[in-house]
Amino acid sequence: MRISVQEDSFELGAESDAFAAGIENAGAVVTFTGVVRDADQGGLQAMEIEHYPGMTEKALTAIAEEAVKRWSLADALVIHRHGRLAPGERIMMVATAARHRKDAFEAAEYLMDYLKSRAPFWKKEILAGGSADWVAAKDADEDALKRW
């Protein structure tokens, strides 16, 4: 299991290859990548991601450990960036490896649902005019936890 909270970007291919190379006895590897989206179509200049050093790593580790246990994963990976990101840049990725794809997919969704609402990150959108807005948490994100 690897958890990385980092300012630098990451190579999707290299991370996926390295993750898959270390796996034994798993027939399914799922990866998910989150990208900075320009919701206002042209209005977004940057996304600033703040986090709580120390708690972030602890929370992500606890979430990933729970996923490994529940879906008997062969391995799990979480990379999440912080700092200032431009539209189109990768924000984060998760990878899961399991014997069968259903477990790998479900575990990846679980990781995503939990790290959206239970890992201490906060997003701020910097708009073209210079104004800035903190992204509000959505009720739907909180509701998504109930299915687990």
Partner: protein, 81 residues
């Protein structure tokens, strides 16, 4: 104890962390003390339903006791992913 603020709570109060000497028994008591300090604290803590709290880096509740706690953090609901 150390009190930390993140995101708009940090912006509203105007600092990321501070050392607070307090005898507050619970998080809610600490919030009451902070609210009484200055308008910027009162503004940040106006609506507790918009805030979350962590005690020693674990998510917690406003009625939790502060006994033995070294680090309290206040922040809005998280928006990772």
């Amino acid at each position: 104890m150390d009190v930390l603020y993140f995101a708009w709570v940090r912006e509203r109060i105007g600092l990321p962390r501070e050392r607070v000497e307090t005898n507050a028994a619970t998080v809610a008591d600490l919030v009451e003390e902070l609210r009484g300090r200055e308008d910027r604290y009162a503004a940040a803590f106006a609506d507790l339903s918009a805030l979350r709290v962590a005690l020693d880096q674990e998510l917690s509740d406003f009625d939790s006791p502060l006994d033995g706690v070294r680090e309290v953090a206040f922040f809005p609901p998280m928006t990772g992913g």
